[in-house]
């Protein structure tokens, strides 16, 4: 299987995602330039963190119009696995591949620190190797991570089990209403990551690629990459 990491002008976690896949997970990976419509035969496409096109106008608002996003859209709608991390998540929202929007963090400040997120469901390719309820320590680094959507949409997300990760306390308990330690940006329902209805597109604000080597503080992000690899292996085995 092969990973592709999209490079927008202003992406700055592209090298980190590449490193996590190539050096830590040990899978083939290639960069995909934003002006290319060729996904280079990738089985999984990662939209990395950063400030695509400077995030001018609104986070992800310009990036969604880049040529590569046409192919990503087609790829996602045909069932391909797409992982949007941080700015990548924001781009997926703007592109309409995931529902909802991001507002500025409640405290109106950029925040970078380790947070705790809980795996809410494992019936998808991104957390299938994790345990339901497992708490992961993973860093965030963003200014606009305050997830928002309309009540009906929120109900739909919950009902369809599309909330994959939720910000929680270190012990895994739900974050209280105004607990900015646990829910750092004030997201609705403490949402940290969601997938689409078809469960092949995931967006999350925390950075799993920064949590794959324990000397750097955590390797809890590994389970995400391992899940993708495992699901791909079983998928291939079934269809072979």
């Amino acid at each position: 299987m092969k990973f592709g990491v999209v490079q927008f002008p202003g992406s700055n976690c592209d090298d980190d995602a590449f490193h996590a896949v190539a050096s830590v997970i040990g899978k083939p990976v290639e960069f995909i330039w934003h002006q290319s419509e060729d996904l280079a035969g990738s089985d999984v496409v990662i939209l990395p963190g950063g400030f695509a096109y400077g995030d001018y106008l609104r986070t992800g608002a310009i990036a969604r119009f880049s040529p590569v996003m046409k192919s990503v859209d087609k790829f996602a709608r045909s069932g391909g696995l797409v992982l949007g991390i941080c700015n990548g998540f924001q781009i997926l929202l703007e592109a309409g591949l995931l529902p909802g929007a991001m507002m500025r963090n409640k405290g109106l400040r950029y925040l970078c620190r380790h947070v705790h997120i809980r795996v809410e469901t494992t019936d998808n390719p991104f957390t299938c190797a994790a345990k339901k309820g497992q708490v992961l320590k993973i860093p965030i680094a963003h200014n606009e991570g305050n997830y928002f959507c309309e009540p009906a949409m929120l109900n739909g997300l919950e009902k369809n089990n599309q909330v994959i990760f939720r910000y929680v306390t270190p012990e895994g308990a739900d974050a209280a209403e105004n607990d900015r330690e646990a829910n750092p940006n004030g997201s609705l329902h403490s949402i940290a990551g969601i997938c689409n209805r078809e469960r092949n597109v995931l967006g999350l604000m925390p950075h799993p690629e920064r949590a794959v080597e324990s000397p750097l503080g955590s390797e809890d992000g590994l389970v995400l990459f391992r899940s993708v690899v495992a699901s791909f292996a079983s998928h291939t085995a079934v269809t072979a």
Binding site: C13, R109, C112, L216
Partner: protein
């Protein structure tokens, strides 16, 4: 707008900050009167900021050579060998005045400028540290006479500066991993914003700013030129501040970190084509300094047609284009015939890249506009033959200039110090900076082994090798005000000690020298004393100075700041696994104080009145800094590096502001809820409990060690001539310090953690 027809007179020269002598010298170099464009060019290149005219004769005294040094001062950044064919480029620079006039953009462009200095050498930036100094943000004895208006304004300046640093670094994609923030009344109207950047490269891929090859194209890349930042270097950075300084806001540049990120990637990619001969970023004095310095270093000339410069605004004059300090621009020399390869890379990244001139052999900087010569100046004279001053030096009448006098009134024997310890922990200089550093991306590029607060130094692992780099900045202005020489030596020693505590061997240094008006003999005295102090300490600790910057005229309304040299020390760790954090690790570990000094005295009444404790609790700043003992510092450093390499100890934290008590508390705060129970009786000669707990003499560190490694710790300490004194144990439960038969500090860990963790955030957000 300045018209080209303005007739240049000595009066006009004076308005450009040039003295009568300097103007005469310009006439002599040219053999005629300069036109207004040429005058503008001379005025920026010969400004204090660009020419180092007051400092250069003294900077020569700094040690700049050593076995690790690949490139010393004189290039865009210093470079050291870090093994396996890799090099590290690093440098610190100030952006003080712009940060006072416009805190957000001033700090942002400070970060942008130092990053360009690194990647212009072919090195990819992997870390930034910021050494910041502000006026008081809380009231209390340590705030001196600061008014509530002043305090409010200082909070706004701090907020703007940290937002600006975050804005730039977060978007650019470089982790902000450390530095320090210190508060003193003297920085109220003159904050210090010093940014240090580190980059790494393969040794053979380094680039230098030396033009060569007659006929080679001179190519302008990056952002378009606008009218922003004109005279930033000469008027903002090279003059004192007055009440009108706020009107200089238009002189502050505006930063675009997204553009700089594109410029970084494009430059590194273009460098790999092999088509680039030389490259330099346009920082202070913009197009003027890049062109004249590249030409001068290569012994060549450069001819540029300004008509071809990408411009943001219409009808810019030659004067404006040459003096603009628009950000995110570079000038490079390519190999003739291969310019298209360079253009292709920059166009791929959506950036302007235009051939605007060529390298010549006549040694002249020649500027054309609309087909006519707009200026012609010998490049070498401009870049290298500026004025050099041996300014008058005079020690002040009193030795040092204490702001207040008096000795600390000590508590009675056996008095409980718990409450005043909590107040000390809440002092902004000592309190946690997490609220600030959480606003910086400290992890991007996934090399951050130790980010802010995790160790005494920031530690970056290197993906290319198993080694790691440690970096720390330090600078004690208060001690500098009492003794510029001793203060400077302590700053070097503390930075090196911090690097050693993290487990790395200190190998090189960079310095940012923040001082008042050099035309005042007593300021010049502070400067020369500090230079000699830095020189002596860097020689003793084997950390040569590889570059840096001088920032004079840090005064507002005639009040100079404390003489504040900031020292950045770089350390090398043979294996990233040797990294030692400052937080305790295991309950049951033994706590030791390592002391490199043979003299057992911790603090005299005189040195104690210069301590953080004396200032914060009693409002006293007097006496003299503790006597520095460089041999003791070196012994301690060698011992710490040795302990790290053998993985003998679990944590290490140096003893500095607030003494051993604060060190112990911080090691607890850095742990998973572990506390310390210690007795200070055996530490050395102390006057009383306060000097034992809060005394700040150098050459000491708190380490924790598993019981099974105590014997090895003692052996390594003895081998290095360092005293190892066991003072207590890491344990759950209360934090407790005993002195004599009495418990002088005791309480739950949380009761000490809260004031330390929350005071800065509460001061800024609720103040």
């Amino acid at each position: 707008m300045i018209e080209t027809e303005i007739k240049v007179t000595p009066q006009v020269a004076a308005e450009h900050g040039l003295t009568a002598d300097e103007y005469t010298r310009i006439q002599k170099i040219l053999g005629r009167d300069p036109n207004i464009t040429e005058l503008g060019i001379f005025s920026v290149m010969w400004s204090e900021h660009c020419s180092y005219k007051s400092s250069r004769v003294h900077l020569k005294r700094l040690p700049t050579k050593g076995k690790y040094v690949v490139q010393g001062p004189g290039e865009n950044a210093g470079v050291v060998d870090i093994g396996d064919g890799m090099v590290a480029a690093f440098k610190i620079e100030s952006h003080n005045h712009p940060s006072f006039v416009e805190p957000f953009q001033g700090a942002a462009t400070g970060v942008g400028g130092i990053l360009r200095d690194i990647f212009t050498m072919g090195a990819r930036p992997i870390a930034v540290l910021d050494a910041l100094r502000f006026g008081p943000v809380t009231s209390g004895p340590g705030a001196g006479n600061a008014t509530s208006e002043e305090i409010k304004r200082n909070r706004q300046i701090l907020d703007g500066v940290i937002r600006g640093i975050g804005f730039y670094g977060n978007c650019f994609g470089v982790p902000t991993v450390g530095g320090e923030i210190v508060f003193e009344p003297c920085y109220s109207n003159n904050p210090l914003v010093n940014a240090l950047a580190l980059g790494i490269a393969k040794r053979e891929e380094l680039f230098f700013a030396k033009a060569s090859g007659v006929g080679n194209p001179v190519i302008y890349v990056g952002a378009k030129t606008g009218r922003d930042g004109i005279h930033g270097a000469s008027l903002l950075a090279s003059a004192e501040f007055s009440e009108e300084s706020q009107q200089k806001r238009p002189n502050v540049q505006v930063g675009d970190p997204f553009l700089e990120k594109l410029l970084l990637e494009a430059c590194l990619e273009a460098m790999r084509t092999g088509a680039i001969v030389a490259i330099q970023d346009m920082g202070a004095a913009g197009l003027t300094s890049t062109s004249s310095e590249m030409a001068s270093r290569g012994g060549m000339g450069i001819e540029m047609d300004l008509t071809r410069v990408p411009q943001r605004e219409a009808k810019m004059t030659a004067y404006e284009m040459m003096l603009s300090e628009s950000q995110e621009r570079m000038l490079l020399v390519a190999t003739r015939g291969r310019e298209q390869e360079v253009f292709d890379v920059f166009h791929k990244w959506g950036l302007d890249a235009v051939e605007i001139g060529r390298v010549t052999d006549d040694g002249k900087l020649r500027i054309l506009l609309d087909g006519a010569v707009a200026g012609e100046i010998p490049a070498h004279a401009l870049a290298e033959e500026g004025p050099r001053y041996e300014r008058p030096v005079a020690a002040p009448n009193t030795s040092g200039a204490p702001k207040t006098t008096g000795k600390v009134p000590f508590a009675s024997d056996g008095a409980d110090l718990t409450e005043n310890f909590r107040r000390l922990l809440a002092a902004p200089t000592i309190a946690s900076k997490k609220w600030v550093t959480d606003q910086y991306d400290s992890m991007v590029r996934t090399n951050t082994r130790f980010g802010p607060g995790a160790g005494d130094a920031a530690v970056l692992r290197l993906k290319e090798t198993k080694r790691a780099i440690a970096l720390a900045t330090d600078g004690n202005g208060r001690w500098g005000s009492l003794s510029p020489r001793e203060g400077a030596m302590h700053s070097v020693a503390e930075a090196a000690r911090n690097v050693a505590c993290s487990g790395a061997k200190p190998i090189a240094a960079t310095n940012c020298l923040n001082f008042g008006n050099p035309e005042k003999p007593e300021v010049m005295w502070q400067f020369t004393e500090a230079i000699d102090g830095i020189g002596e300490a860097c020689t003793a600790l084997e950390t040569p100075i590889t570059g840096g910057n001088v920032s004079f005229y840090n005064e507002t309304l005639g009040n100079p700041i404390y003489p504040t040299p900031i020292i950045g020390v770089l350390g090398l760790m043979e294996d990233a696994e040797f990294a030692i954090g400052s937080g305790f690790r295991n309950a049951g570990d033994k706590i030791f104080v390592l002391d490199g000094a043979a003299d057992k005295s911790i603090a005299s009444a005189e040195s104690f009145s210069s301590s953080e404790y004396a200032k914060e609790i009693h409002g006293i700043v007097s006496g003299m800094p503790p006597k520095i003992d460089l041999a003791a510092e070196k012994r301690l450093i060698d011992c710490l590096v040795h302990l790290a390499a053998e993985k003998t100890i679990a944590s290490a934290h140096d003893i500095s502001d607030g003494g051993v008590a604060v060190s112990l508390a911080e090691s607890c705060f850095g742990s998973e809820n572990l506390s310390a129970q210690v007795s200070l009786d055996t530490l050395g000669t102390t006057l009383n409990a306060e000097t034992a707990a809060y005394g700040e003499r150098g050459a000491r560190a708190v380490v924790s060690v598993p019981p099974s490694s105590v014997v090895r710790l003692r052996a390594i300490a003895a081998e290095n001539g360092v005293n190892a004194t066991e003072i207590g144990t890491v344990a759950a439960g209360d934090f407790r310090i005993q002195y004599g038969t009495k418990t002088v500090i005791q309480g739950s860990l949380a009761s000490f953690h809260r004031p330390w963790a929350k005071s800065l955030q509460e001061a800024i957000e609720n103040g």
